[in-house]
């Protein structure tokens, strides 16, 4: 279960007050809402990148409200991918594993698995410069998934992609969802994207998060 209980987040003059949200383990939730409503802020608070003023954040039964981002075990894919310009795609996939001091053979096996899952085997020795938007998002997804996070947070990962690439990414995200057992919170503006991917559809309003029916 990913849960936020009465969470208040302050960011300058903007405040999200007493927000509560529950996503059962293994579900793919999509959160929609107007621009500036605080969707990204919620993801940042779950990651630990933004402090909460009050309330509790629990991930898979563990209270992580005051834990550092490194200790939360959350995979995070930002909107612009934010790839590391000096590292190759292979180094991106191995990044979290190197930090965790995995042995070399285990890292190589996991990198190969990720490359196959995300169809980026041919890009492994390339750097981010020159990757297309879809390729960059697949690398960012692989970088987040490699450490087998219990929770995956996706911040509008498909918003900058063309229609064809977006369809490919839908298929990829559905395949990832089938193969990797984890709880996903995906933020988007697109209702069709939400309908395609979500088994739990949420909408952020000024008074909190509402559950929407899946068909509409």
């Amino acid at each position: 279960m990913l849960s936020l209980t009465d969470v208040t987040i302050r960011q300058g003059k903007f405040t999200l007050s007493r927000l509560s949200l529950q996503i059962p383990t293994g579900h793919y939730a999509v959160l929609m809402g107007k621009t500036g409503s605080g969707k990204t802020t919620i993801l940042e608070a779950i990651c630990g990148l933004r402090p909460t003023a009050s309330g509790q954040i629990c991930l898979l039964g563990r209270d992580v409200t005051h834990l550092k981002p490194a200790l939360r075990g959350v995979g995070y894919v930002p909107q612009d991918a934010s790839l590391f310009s000096r590292l190759t795609v292979r180094q991106h996939l191995a990044f979290a594993l190197t930090i965790r001091s995995w042995d070399r053979q285990r890292i190589e096996r996991r990198v190969a698995e990720m490359a196959e899952l995300l169809h980026i085997g041919h890009l492994l020795d390339r750097r981010p410069q020159g990757l297309s938007g879809g390729e960059a998002q697949r690398v960012a997804l692989g970088r987040a998934l490699a450490m087998r996070p219990g929770v995956l947070l996706l911040d509008e990962p498909l918003s900058a992609l063309d229609a064809e690439t977006r369809q490919e990414m839908y298929d990829l995200l559905l395949a990832v969802r089938r193969q990797q057992s984890m709880t996903v919170l995906h933020v988007t503006h697109s209702r069709s994207e939400a309908q395609t991917l979500a088994d739990l559809l949420l909408e952020l309003h000024a008074d909190g998060v509402r559950l929407l029916p899946r068909d509409g």
């Binding site: 990148l49 490194a70 959350v74």
Partner: protein
């Protein structure tokens, strides 16, 4: 095909750039034409000038390294963190840039006449000794390096290091593994800028280190000493040596900095 007023605009831009480049080339040309091969050979054969050249190269390199050592953490701190007094510190960092260099030298001299300064001087002789040259150069050059590093870190999206932290990095690991490699060109720019600034430093060295031959004499001091005894040819030859040394370092740094970027 540019429209007529676009062509005029472009001509204006090219004209302004061209005028300034012409001025620089004329200055260098004048210096080169004034200096004969014999003057240059005489300068290079002089033991005093060779000492000044060596001291300049060593002190500028030390000053640049010290400047980077301070500027990288200082620039990162100012770029990424909010803390009380940040605005004041930011303004103070501009003081060595706006103050006349001579005043920096005078302030250093007075500082080393205080009880604390004299105590330091007794442990490591600074005033009118070689360390004073490095300190005088560093005092000014470091401010330029801090400014450069601050802008460099401002231009690196903090999202990258945030992602690194979600992947398991501490803030320090995120800095060393993600931010530092991305700041490589900025670091190189700060290094060359502080090195070049140190090479040209004269005022604070004259006041704080003196102009003692074979002791605290750097190349700008040599130019001053040669001019003061009317040896304009020797002064021009030393100036030309400084120009060549500075150009060599700047070109090498640029080549090194652009390697791997696909621009060269």
């Amino acid at each position: 095909m540019p429209r007529p007023h676009d062509a005029l605009f472009l001509a204006g831009l090219i004209g302004m750039l061209g005028l300034y480049v012409l001025l620089i080339v004329s200055l260098l040309g004048a210096l080169a034409c004034f200096t004969s091969g014999k003057d240059l050979a005489t300068a290079l054969a002089s033991e005093e000038i060779r000492y000044a050249f060596r001291l300049s190269m060593i002190s500028c390199t030390l000053s640049a390294l010290l400047s980077l050592w301070v500027a990288i953490p200082a620039g990162y701190l100012l770029s990424r963190f909010q803390f009380p007094g940040r605005g004041l510190i930011d303004a103070l960092l501009d003081v060595p840039i706006v103050l006349p260099p001579l005043v920096i030298g005078l302030a250093l001299l007075i500082l080393f006449q205080t009880r604390l300064g004299r105590a330091v001087d007794q442990i490591v002789p600074v005033t009118f000794a070689v360390p004073s040259v490095v300190l005088a150069q560093f005092s000014v050059a470091c401010a330029f390096a801090v400014r450069t590093m601050r802008v460099t870190f401002d231009q690196i999206n903090p999202r990258s290091e945030q992602v690194a932290m979600t992947l398991g990095c501490s803030r320090a690991q995120a800095f060393w593994m993600v931010v530092f490699p991305e700041a490589r060109r900025g670091i190189l720019t700060a290094a060359t800028l502080s090195w070049a600034r140190s090479l040209g430093e004269f005022g604070p060295i004259l006041v704080f280190s003196g102009a003692t031959r074979m002791r605290t004499e750097v190349l700008p001091t040599t130019v001053y000493l040669e001019l003061s005894v009317g040896k304009i040819e020797a002064a021009a030859a030393v100036s030309l040596i400084m120009v060549v040394a500075a150009l060599a370092i700047l070109i090498l740094a640029r080549l090194f900095g652009l390697r791997g970027t696909g621009l060269i």
